[in-house]
Structure formats: C-alpha cells, structure tokens
C-alpha cells in the first residue's frame, strides 16, 4: 500500500486526498547541484517505464510568474512581500497543476518545492514559524531528495556553465560582501545550514551531490523504485522481487550506455 497523502497543515479547502493516486517526487538543491539534469533523466526513465510525468518548478505559475520575474529584476520588493509572491506562485501550481496531475495518477517531478522558498526567506530574516504556517497548505511529497553539493564545487559548476554567478543565488541582495564569490559561498553555506535544520522537521533524504550525475541518478532511481513499488520508507528492504532488481539493473545499464537519445535539451 502506498502511503496516504496528507497536507502539512490544514491544507487546501476542497481537496479529497484519497483521490490523489499519483506520486509527488521533489528534487531540491542549489543552482549547479544537478537538479535539472537529474530530473530530465528521471523523466526519461519514468516515461520509458510507461509512467506519465508532469514537471513543476518555481516561478512557473500562469498566475504570477511574469509579474514575479519583473519585480525581481527591479529588486524592489521587501523580503516578506517576495515570500508571499512566491507562495502565490506555489499555490497556483499546487492547485492547478500538481493536484490535478496526482488525481490523474501522474508522477509529478518537482524541481524545487517549499523548502527552497522557506530557507531563502529564513536566511533573510523571516520568522521560521511564520513561513511554516504560510506553507502549511502544501502537500507532503512522497519523496524529497536534497542534492547537497559543497559551495566550492557549486561555484565551479556555475562559472563553467554560465561564466557568471546568479545575483540571487549569491545572496547579493543581503549585502554580506561586495565580492560576489565570497557572497556566493557564504550564502550557500547559510542555505545549507537551513536545509540541515529543516531535515529533522521535514524528514527528507540528503543525497551526496558531489558525485557524478550517473552515480546520483542510480541512487535516485533505486530509491524511487522502492517508493513506486508501494513500499513506504526509503530503506532498502530484503526483497524477493527479482523483477525489481532486474529492472533497476536494466535502468542503470541503459543510462550507463548513454542511450538517452530522446533526452530533451537541458533547462537552464
């Protein structure tokens, strides 16, 4: 039996939780942690298995994504306002994309979820209790994987890819250092500390993201396999399901072959 769905708090009005047949899988991590790459690979793997998927992420709601982007360009909103703007974006996607997809039995792959939003707000001085209450409307995911990557490696990956560090991911709005490099490292450390603190409360799984994409993907697939087979808990149990082992092995080989011909272009 799959674990029944629940909200963190009172949740959304008018949602019948027992009708949500799909699975919500969240991948969290900083820019450069390999989140998007991992999600793209998971999507190929799941769709090859025959499971329909839906991708969601931050700032992608129909309701406010454009307005939110504009406001961030000007950097004119206060911390609390920005938090609530993001919460609106999240709620719109939760109600109009995530929940309908789960109702139809899709696997929802979330490129970040409330944890990034909460940690960003908290390191900028918003009270933990308040932001938790705001996000008590959120659905508890079936699995949350946090790709932890050391800040130094994050810098290298970001610079190699874009030759520039992102203003917000470097916490430049916090004015902790005029050096973008130092600010990035310090900001990412603060965020990671917050994630570690949240881990106890929200119980998500930390994945060592310093490794190769393949190694990470193999670990994710094995863990997701367990969840999809209806066994709650993320610890590998002794299993007589030889099929399952075979499937994992096949998935791993498939990926090792690099035969991911239908992989969509990587999102930024």
């Amino acid at each position: 039996m799959l674990r029944p769905k629940r909200f963190y708090g009172k949740g959304l009005p008018g949602v019948a939780l027992d009708q949500l047949r799909g699975q919500l899988i969240v991948v969290e991590g900083a820019d450069g942690s390999g989140r998007s790459t991992q999600i793209d690979m998971l999507r190929n793997w799941l769709e090859r298995r025959g499971s329909p998927t839906v991708n969601v992420g931050l700032k992608r709601s129909m309701l406010v994504s454009r307005e939110l982007e504009q406001a961030m360009q000007g950097n004119i909103l206060g911390t609390r306002t920005l938090s609530l703007f993001y919460a609106t974006d999240f709620a719109d996607q939760l109600e109009n994309r995530i929940i309908p997809a789960l109702r139809s039995g899709f696997i929802v792959l979330a490129d970040r979820y409330i944890y990034t939003l909460m940690s960003r707000a908290i390191v900028r001085g918003v009270e933990r209790a308040w932001i938790r209450d705001v996000y008590s409307i959120a659905l508890v995911p079936d699995a949350v994987f946090y790709l932890a990557v050391s800040p130094k490696i994050l810098v290298e990956r970001n610079l190699r890819k874009h030759a520039v560090l992102d203003y917000w991911e470097s916490g430049m709005d916090m004015h902790r250092s005029s050096s973008m490099y130092s600010s990035f490292i310090e900001y990412q450390r603060l965020i990671q500390k917050e994630f570690r603190a949240m881990q106890e409360h929200y119980g998500f799984e930390t994945i060592n993201g310093n490794r190769s994409p393949r190694a990470i993907q193999n670990e994710l697939r094995a863990k997701i396999e367990v969840i999809l087979n209806g066994k709650s808990g993320l610890v590998e149990e002794e299993s007589d399901d030889s099929n399952r082992e075979e499937r994992i092995a096949r998935a791993i080989t498939t990926f090792a072959d690099g035969s991911e011909g239908d992989q969509p272009p990587l999102r930024r």
């Binding site: 959304l12 008018g14 129909m62 309701l63 609390r80 609530l84 919460a87 709620a91």
Partner: protein, 230 residues
C-alpha cells in the same frame, strides 16, 4: 499582531456601501488641512502586485487560496515599503480596509480562519479601528441602486451561490457581514452607526480620534532642513 511604533495607525472597515471610504476621506482632509503628518493607503493598491491580481481576476484564475495569497502579497508590499516606515517616522497612517477585510473575505471563500490570521500575523494592530456598521439591506441598496452591474469577484460569483449576480452579491455580502460581526469584540472595533448623516458620523469619528490620539504630537513642525541657515 504586534504593537505600533512612533506613529499611529487608524483603520476603517465595513461592508461595501457602508460609506467608510467617504468617512476616511473626510478624516484625511481634516488632518492634512490642519497640518498633521498623515498618509492614506487603500486595500489592493500596490502597483507591482495589482497587475497580477487584475489578470487573475479577469481570467478567473484565482482560487480561494491564491486569492488570499495574492492579496496578502499586495498588503505586505504596502506594509513593508510604506505603512511601517511611515509609522516609524511618526505619521498617522489611515488605512481604507486593513487585515480584517482579508479575515472576513477569505474566511467566506473557504480558507481556514487560523491560517489567514497567521498569514497576516506580521501586521501591527491598529491603534483605532472604526467599523462602519450598516444593516445589510442599506449597504446593498447603496451599492445596487444606480449601478448597472456588479463585478464578478465583488459579487462572489466565484463561490457559485447563484447564477444571478445580484442574488450572489446579496448572499456573499451577508456572509461577510456575519464575519465582521464576529470580529467586533475580538479586535476592539469602534462601531460607528453608518445610517446616520455623513457629517454626524464624521463629527463622531473626529471626536473619538482626538480622544484616542494625542494629535498635537503629529503636527508638522520645524523644517525638513534643520541645519539650514539663511
């Protein structure tokens, strides 16, 4: 809700058609013409957020939760950038609708009352909250007489009470009225009988304000260039 800063916060609440906007306008005119530091702010008026709200309403994209969150974003923007700094600077801030409007409307739309209150828990409690109390019938006739149509959300059409906008409006406003009545004691609203003539109401409002606030402290005095020598 926390306590206020150097300035004073005065909120007005009431149903659409209670006449509260007229009363707060007159209050503002009195204070500014008599030389007080006064600032006026209106519900749902942050320039940045309003665009998103308008789109959401127009295309009917909003649910009770996103309706609530987008209004709280609007409020937070006005709060962080205007209300709070102006209170810190010793202004009298007049708010045409405050968090109580969200408490009433969002609860009617089905949001959890406790969640809504927590959402707005960062907002300070007003020093004075005037509640313009008017029987539902009077409010409805003031709004509906001489109006050709009521707006979709104003009428609560999103709630599906009735296909007829006027009937829907009646039902929706009735429910909001009940929410306000629940809050009168909880939040120390000062009740003003909104059926009295406007000038009588305004005289009462001014009298109460003079009792509650040491007004002379909020007068403009001195120069904004104190070091300036001619």
């Amino acid at each position: 809700m926390t306590e206020t800063e150097a300035g004073k916060l005065v909120a007005v609440e009431g149903l659409d058609g209670s006449g509260k906007s007229t009363q707060v306008y007159l209050l503002k005119r009195w204070l500014e013409l008599d030389g007080y530091k006064v600032f006026f702010t209106e519900w749902n008026s942050s320039a940045i957020v309003r665009k998103a709200t308008r789109k959401g309403k127009k295309r009917q994209l909003l649910t009770s939760t996103t309706f609530s969150l987008i209004h709280s974003t609007d409020f937070a923007d006005r709060y962080e950038r205007q209300i709070l700094p102006l209170l810190n600077a010793g202004y009298i801030v007049l708010a045409d609708r405050y968090v109580f409007t969200a408490f009433a409307r969002d609860a009617v739309r089905g949001c959890d009352r406790d969640w809504i209150r927590k959402l707005y828990s960062f907002a300070i409690k007003p020093d004075v909250t005037f509640y313009f109390d008017v029987p539902l019938k009077t409010a409805l006739s003031r709004i509906l007489d001489g109006r050709t149509r009521v707006k979709y959300h104003e009428a609560g059409m999103d709630m599906g009470y009735s296909k007829d906008p006027y009937e829907s409006f009646r039902i929706f406003q009735g429910k909001i009225y009940n929410e306000y009545r629940r809050m009168v004691r909880e939040y120390d609203f000062i009740r003003i009988d909104a059926e009295e003539p406007p000038d009588v109401q305004q005289a009462k409002v001014r009298e109460i304000l003079e009792m509650k606030i040491d007004l002379p402290r909020y007068r403009w005095h001195g120069s904004i260039y104190p070091q300036h020598t001619p």
